[in-house]
């Protein structure tokens, strides 16, 4: 590897700092100096004129599919996709096969991440055994394992039993854990296919009401307040959900939330052609929801962007809508989508993007080694991004094993140029290093 002499990144802009076109020196795995006239004999130089440097992005919500569905994704391919998207850490969701509900499985995923080396992999543990929503998984044992699990989620399924949810929230207080809830009332969404509204009525697809998400979020905020624990709300998709979270935060309750890139850009109108590439859980909502989610991310009600990268093999999507799998890939396009949805609209500046895609998700995920603003002494995780790269059509072919991107063919701005993990490039010139 080339890290020995370090890297001198010249001419870069660090959002949130006054000077433009400065230099960053990375050596020994850390940012060692920032300033206009740096020099460091032996360091390799990277001309980063016109680029911005963000602290390495952190994804709170990634499906790496391994173990069990290596046909859709592996830790190797998923983390490669993450690095190409500018991520230096991802949280691997627990709905694998076997489910990540024991110390053994979370340690396996953690080790696979270390071996792959494209970015850090922080396993998420299941809340309940087998995601079945009946018995708590051994949360403490996963917390104490080599994987040091702090985020627990049955994502893909909702912890719908209120008593079980209360106990989970309460129990993880012992080790500063957080329950990341997939908010979906199962009874209100039996057979549901598409946001309940004009499109579902017209297309004859069973409606997925906003209230199925909002009712669970409201309940869980109250439960988190009652037991004084930390709740994280996965993939918020409706205007009403944002409003409830804003209210819970105003009370001082420990509630955080994420929104996906696709819910910031796409609407249920796209289902008109019944192409299941637009089928996702929670479903794409309306223009009004998109507008409100953007506002909520801008004002901090929603803390962060999380991809919910959900790879599926071709055959899982080449079918009738109702037969098809839920989910979209997102790691390789997230930052470009956020530029389109948040930066070009003036809702968020690049310092805000660094906060919502690195600092805050790392804090929510208790990843102490990530999400540090770029200052001397910070870990050497950073992403170099060219926001001025002309908009190019997204191609489905990337590092991910799967091709189910809803953005295929869509022209998106920007380009991830390089990703550094512990001072070593994982991506250089837009390619895996």
């Amino acid at each position: 590897m080339t890290g020995d002499g370090g890297w001198l990144i010249r001419g870069v802009t660090i959002p949130g700092r006054d000077e433009t076109a400065t230099s960053i020196l990375i050596a020994g795995g850390s940012v060692t100096a920032i300033g206009p006239d740096l020099d460091h004999p032996g360091a390799r130089t990277l001309d980063a004129g016109g680029l911005i440097a963000l602290p390495g992005l952190v994804d709170l919500h990634t499906h790496l599919r391994e173990p069990g569905r290596e046909d859709a994704e592996t830790v190797e391919t998923g983390t490669a996709a993450a690095a190409l998207g500018g991520y230096t850490a991802v949280h691997a969701m627990a709905n694998t096969d076997p489910v990540a509900d024991t110390a053994g499985v979370v340690e396996q995923v953690w080790r696979l991440g270390r071996t792959a080396g494209h970015c850090d992999v922080q396993p998420v543990g299941a809340v309940t055994v087998g995601l079945a929503g009946v018995r708590l998984a051994e949360l403490g044992t996963m917390a104490d394992s080599a994987a040091r699990v702090r985020v627990f989620s049955d994502d893909g399924r909702c912890v719908s039993d209120p008593l079980l949810m209360r106990r989970a929230l309460e129990y993880v207080k012992a080790f500063d854990g957080v329950i990341a809830q997939h908010a979906q009332d199962p009874r209100l969404t039996e057979g549901a296919q598409l946001n309940e509204g004009e499109m579902s009525a017209r297309l004859g697809l069973a409606g997925w009401p906003a209230v199925a998400e909002e009712a669970i979020i409201a309940r869980d905020c109250l439960l988190a307040a009652h037991v004084g624990s930390a709740l994280h709300v996965c993939h918020v998709s409706t205007a009403g959900s944002a409003e409830i979270i804003r209210w819970a935060k105003s009370k001082g309750w420990r509630v955080t939330a994420e929104v996906t890139p696709h819910h910031l850009l796409l609407t249920d109108e796209l289902a008109a052609g019944y192409d299941p590439v637009f089928k996702v859980n929670p479903p794409l909502r309306t223009e009004a929801d998109v507008a409100e989610l953007r506002r909520a991310l801008a004002d901090g009600t929603i803390d962060c962007v999380a991809t919910d990268h959900a790879p599926h093999p071709v055959e899982a999507k080449e079918s009738e809508w109702a037969e098809a799998a839920f989910g979209m890939t997102g790691l390789e396009t997230a930052l470009r989508v956020v530029q389109r949805a948040m930066v070009e609209t003036g809702l968020l500046d690049w310092a805000g993007v660094a906060d919502r895609m690195s600092v805050r998700p790392a804090r929510i995920g208790r990843l102490t080694g990530h999400g540090h603003p770029l200052t001397p002494g910070a870990p050497g995780h950073l992403t170099l991004y060219d926001p001025a790269a002309p908009a190019e059509a997204v191609t489905p072919a990337g590092a991910s094993k799967s091709r189910n991107t809803p953005f295929a063919g869509m022209e998106l701005p920007g380009r991830v140029v390089a990703t550094f993990l512990r001072g070593v490039p994982a991506v250089l010139d837009g390619k895996l290093a």
């Binding site: 004009e198 579902s200 009525a201 017209r202 297309l203 004859g204 079918s319 809508w321 109702a322």
Partner: protein
Amino acid sequence: MKRHLISAADLSRGDAVLILDTAEELASLADRPIKKLPTLRGRTVVNLFYEDSTRTRISFEAAAKRLSADVINFSAKGSSVAKGESLKDTALTLEAMGADAVIIRHGASGAAHRLADWVRGSVLNAGDGTHEHPTQALLDAFTIRRRLRGTAAAGARGAGLDGLRVTIVGDVLHSRVARSNVLLLSTLGAEVTLAAPPTLLPLAVGSWPCAVSYDLDSELSKSDVVMMLRVQQERMNAAYFPSVREYSRRYGLDAARMARLPGHAIVMHPGPMNRGVEIAAEVADSVRSTIVEQVANGVTTRMAVLYLLLGGTEFPATGEAR
């Protein structure tokens, strides 16, 4: 006309009137001793049925055969579909066999739309899940026009359904017949009202080109047409209504309700009926009922659709240019 018929929204008013007028011409053939026309000779029409629906399948089969097309019936049961073949692979198989048209009945909304992505021939939607059933709407429009505006001979050629008030009653939420009829009948100028319990209407029904009522009784005296939808008795298990008896009391068409219709009003049902639930036997068998006519009109309307979509040769019977 578009190449496929997937939604009633695919049809302009001109398209729809052309289909009805063509069906009128074809109807005149039905009275002849030899009912068959050579216009689709050598063309292959596939009936791809994933749901049991003998009445719709034989209606399309009769229509295609009367136009001299070769008909292949492909039923999901006992075929490779039962072994788990995907819709796409089935589509590619039909494509390889050179199907000029595929008539598809499927339990999933959007199946016809998906199929059209994978085959070159015309796709006719014969009912997809809870989405649409456009030829049912066409045969209903044809039936309404004949009964209330007269036959072509009586001057109905070129006419729409302007000003006619049509009340569609029952399980709109799950009904592909209702969706297609709302679209087509409004395109043809009719004023459509949906009468149903709120649980059986889509939440966003306000965006549809129709009025909505929860009270059937208040609609009867102003209806020229009452169209009853089949209600599945299992719906009460999902709390759409408390009991079949209560549903029938509030939304069933019995003799007393029928008596409050205007004298000229007709009663329709796409079949199969639940006698005693949404429609009383004496109503189904009354002179106002068009239920048997609808079946006969189904064949002629589907002939017209196949003829127009596949661009058959002229009818030797009329020789008119079109």
